[in-house]
Every structure is written in C-alpha cells, then in structure tokens.
C-alpha cells in the first residue's frame, strides 16, 4: 500500500471513528438555534406526556400488562430527565431567549410530578386515582403545547 493510500485510509477510518463517537455520545450539532432546540425539547416532553397518558389509559382499560405500562412510564421519565439536562445546557444570548428558556423549563418541570403520579397510579399505590393521573398528564401536556406555540410565534415575530 502506498503512503498516500495509507494516509487516506487512516483519514477515513479516523473520520468514521469520530463520527461514530459523536453519534453515540449525542455530540451532533443541532439546527434551529435556541428556539429550535427549545421547540424540539418541548415536543419530546409532550411526547413523554402522551406516552404516559396512553400507558395509563391502556392499563386502566386492561389492554396492557403492568410491566409494559410501568416500563413505558419509566422510559418517559428517563427521557424527561434527558430533556431537562439538554435544556440546562442551552445558553441563551438575548433577553427573549432567556425568557423562552425559563418558560420551557417551567413547562417541562410541570410534567415531572404528573409522570411520577402516573407511575404511582400504575403501581396501584393508595391515594392516586387513574382519573387524577390522567388529568395531571393532560394539564401538563396542555401547558407544554401552549408554551411551544408561544415560543414558535414569538421567535417568528423576532425574525
């Protein structure tokens, strides 16, 4: 193998290894700036809320097993934790961005107790009814959707 080929081969394998490492550690650049990242975070949080809502509904209607419902709610909680970490890593540069990040943070935080209550309801713990868990999840989802719409609208106006 010539030196040039060897250099090209090591360049390609180096790039591949770097891309793989970046993919697995989640260090891939995001598009859309701060509003884009907030919007994606809120969409993901709403997806967690809807997942838990569906899991609770399916469990209360006897359509799923407790193990599956618990796993779905636990996964939603894990994803929410990841979203909160992601949100914390966003560095706003303008006053608008700071305000949007705060309202996104508040909206996402409102989902955390709702998901925990949903898990308690799925576990059959005393004090939490299906209807209460569903209502809390719906309220949190509404708050998240509302916040997302506001950020999209205000970011659009700011442009």
């Amino acid at each position: 193998m010539t030196t040039r080929r060897r250099t090209a081969a090591s360049c390609i394998s180096g790039c591949l290894a770097a891309a793989l490492a970046a993919a697995l550690t989640g260090c891939v650049p995001d598009s859309g700036g701060v509003p884009g990242r907030l919007e994606r975070g809120l969409s993901s949080a709403d997806s967690s809320a809807q997942t838990a809502l569906l899991a609770v509904r399916q469990l209360s209607e006897g359509k799923t097993t407790p193990q599956h419902a618990h796993t779905a709610i636990d996964d939603a909680l894990t994803k929410l934790g990841e979203q909160q970490t992601e949100l914390a890593s966003i560095e706003p540069r303008t006053a608008d961005e700071r305000r949007w990040r705060r309202s996104a943070d508040d909206a996402i935080s409102s989902l955390d107790p709702a998901l925990k209550d949903a898990r308690s309801a799925a576990n059959g713990e005393a004090g939490i009814r299906w209807s209460q868990a569903r209502r809390e999840l719906r309220d949190a989802s509404d708050t998240i959707t509302h916040t997302k719409r506001e950020i999209i609208a205000q970011a659009g106006e700011a442009e």
Partner: protein, 408 residues
C-alpha cells in the same frame, strides 16, 4: 413432500428472521414522525437485499465457499482487510444493538431493568452458539419471530381508513420536518433493510447447511417469497405507529412505545405475542450477528469456521464470537441507550454498504468461481442500479446525520 416442507419452513423462517431491532425501531420512529411518507423506502430496500442475498447464496452454493473467503482471494489481502475492518465494526455495533434489544424486550415482559438483562442475554446467546445445532437454532428463532405478525394483525384490528392510509403513503416531505431529517431517515430505513450481516449470514449459512447447485431453487424461494413478506411485517410496524402514535404526537424513543399500538389494538394477549416476537427477533439477530463476526474474521484469515465443526475444531471462530459478545456487553454497560446504538448502527450500516455489496457483485460475475452460474444481464443491471443507490446512501449518511442533528 419433505422437499416442499423444507421450502415452506425456509420461507417461514425467512419471514420470522427478517425483522431485527433496527427494523423494529426505525420503522416505528419513521411511522410516528412521517406517517407513511417514507414507506417507499421499504420496497426499495427489500428488493436490494433480495438481489444481493440471492447472489451471495448462489456464490456459496456454486463455488462451495463463503463470501469472505472469496473476497480476500479475489480482491487481495489489503483491500480485503479494509473491507473486513469496516464490515466487522458495523457488525459489532449491530450485535451490541441486538443484545441491548433482547434486554429491552425482556424488560417489557418482566419490568426488570435492561442493565440486569444484558449479561443474561449475552450468556444465553453464547450458550446457544456453543451448544445448539445450526438448523435447530435457525428454525426455532425464525418461527418464534413469526409472532411479530401481531403487528400486521394489529393493523387490521385498528380498522384504519384504507383509502386515507394509501393517500398517506405518497412520498411527500411533511412541512413540519426539515428535508435533511426526511432524507436521514430514508437512509436509515434503507440501511436497516440492507444490513450487511444478513448477507454474511446468508452465504455462510449456505455453507453450514451444505448447499449445492441443487438447493438453489429452495434458496430462491426463501429469498423471493420470505423477504418480501418480512418486508410487509416491517411495513406493518410503521403503519401501527402511523395509526396510533402519530395522531397523539408520540415520537418513538423506546421499545415500550413500539409495542403500544399492538396493545391498543389487541389488548394483553396480542401484546404478549408481540413481546415474544420481539425477544425472538432480537435474539435471532444477535445469534446471526455474533456468528457473522466469527464468519468474517475466520474466513478472511483462513481459520476453520462454522457450527458444523465442533467448537474445539474451530476454537478461534468461537473465541471471536465470545470476544465480540463481551465487547458489545462492555459498550452497553457504559449505560448508552440501546435504541441510540440501534439508530447509529443502521446509519453506519448504510455507510459500509458498498464495501459489502460491491465485492459480491464482482465475485458473482467471475466465471473462475461461478462457471456458467455467473450473473445474468438482468441481475447485473439490477445489481448496478443498487450499487449506485448504495453509494449515494453511503456518501449521504454522515453529512445527513450531522445536518439533521441525528434526525432531531
């Protein structure tokens, strides 16, 4: 009669063995985000894997040798080594995703954390590789994988509006998604359908089962009937996600979400069947990818290989599988999300596709190995068309991954 039964069994196991963790996750992710706007990629991928699996099976049956044995001889040790390196790494990543997939599927059944299931899954894979005969292993997991038909059953139980569903299958980019995200998932779906290990396993499996020219008809039936039906199973996963998850704004990020439409449609019984199918599909794919690790390395270096030999007669082949499983387990032990590993594995599969499929096309056209069984004009034309597609997907994979933020 026994020949017919053999063909029937082969087709069933081809269907049941078609879907793996990459197909489960990617189809559900795509269905929940794009509806059926990317459904067109599935037939493209299925036809591609049919063309090349059929080709590699024929090479093995006619030449009496598996893919990597010939690749090294035909391309030379240096180019063969580049090919081996890329194929082995992608295979290792896929094996890691499959072992993680078994653990996630077992979590759905038990509620126990996947980290606890991962070593159990890896040991179970190793025991089967060590002790169970190839044909039994292939048939049992393939038939159990048929439980995934529950996805197709769920589609009917959900009583969709078929005409509205057909309208959603138009390949239009949703306005809410960036074009780079659309094409990123198109490449991922293509990579999931054409995963390289399927070809290594298919050609080496032909040697394990001692195929000759007389078995070519059976091999063709497996591929031409079994793979498209397996592709329909993949499509039904996407349709389930489109019907249940998309309207609720649920973006698939975990295996528990993939099973939700089935529970919605058929209740607990259908859910249990689909979880059994998920365990079987990921377990079967973990066996195939672990074997493929051993096959690729042993065939390149000329070591004795195959489950038709006793482990003591193919010790290095078995050692490679054990080490690969341990590396996969090590990656999973870092706490990385198996679903994320799966998403990375299908995209990187797309990247490595030319290295797998170009040599097969070259060897299948070489009369020195194939005699009068070289590719016909039609097969070559299709092979070349697919080579262009594969190259395009391979070149686009990493830029799309970066621009779309891994499909974020």
């Amino acid at each position: 009669m026994s020949k017919l039964l053999g063909i029937f069994l082969g087709i069933l196991t081809a269907i049941g063995g078609f879907v793996d963790i990459g197909d489960l996750v990617t189809n559900a992710v795509v269905g929940s985000r794009f509806g059926l706007a990317l459904a067109w990629v599935l037939p493209v991928g299925v036809v591609g894997i049919i063309v090349f699996a059929q080709m590699s099976g024929r090479v093995a049956a006619v030449s009496g040798r598996a893919t990597f044995e010939i690749i090294r001889e035909r391309l030379g040790p240096r180019l063969g080594l580049a090919n081996l390196g890329a194929s082995f790494l992608i295979n290792l990543l896929t094996l890691t995703a499959e072992v993680g997939g078994i653990a996630l599927a077992l979590q759905l059944a038990s509620g126990i954390q996947p980290l606890l299931w991962m070593p159990v899954a890896a040991v179970a894979v190793w025991i089967v590789l060590w002790r169970v005969k190839f044909s039994i292993m292939e048939n049992v997991v393939g038939l159990l994988g048929l439980c995934l038909v529950a996805f197709a059953v769920a589609v009917f139980l959900l009583h969709p509006d078929w005409s509205a569903l057909a309208q959603k299958a138009v390949p239009l980019m949703p306005s809410s998604e960036h074009p780079s995200t659309y094409w990123y998932y198109a490449v991922a779906l293509f990579g999931a359908a054409m995963t390289p290990y399927e070809v290594f396993f298919f050609s080496s499996g032909a040697r394990e089962e001692g195929w000759t020219k007389s078995d070519l008809a059976e091999s063709r039936a497996n591929v031409l009937i079994g793979f498209p039906l397996g592709g329909l199973l993949s499509l039904s996963i996407a349709v389930c996600a489109t019907l249940v998850l998309l309207p609720r704004g649920i973006q698939v990020e975990s295996l528990s979400q993939v099973a939700m439409p089935v529970a919605q449609a058929g209740g607990t019984l259908l859910l249990i069947i689909v979880i059994l199918g998920m365990v079987a599909a990921t377990f079967g794919a973990a066996l195939e990818t672990a074997l493929s690790s051993g096959y690729t390395l042993a065939q390149y270096f000329g070591w004795p290989w195959g489950k038709f030999r006793r482990p003591s007669q193919a010790s290095r082949f078995h050692l490679v599988m054990i080490v690969s499983l341990l590396i996969g387990l090590g990656i999973l032990a870092t706490g990385v999300d198996p679903v994320q590993v799966t998403e990375a594995s299908v995209v990187f599969s797309a990247l490595a596709l030319p290295l797998t499929y170009l040599p097969i096309l070259i060897v299948a056209n070489d009369p020195q190995y194939m005699g009068d069984a070289v590719n016909g004009k039609g097969t070559n034309a299709l092979g070349l068309v697919y080579l262009v597609l594969i190259l395009a997907a391979s070149i686009a994979a990493i830029p799309l991954m970066i621009v779309s933020g891994m499909g974020a």
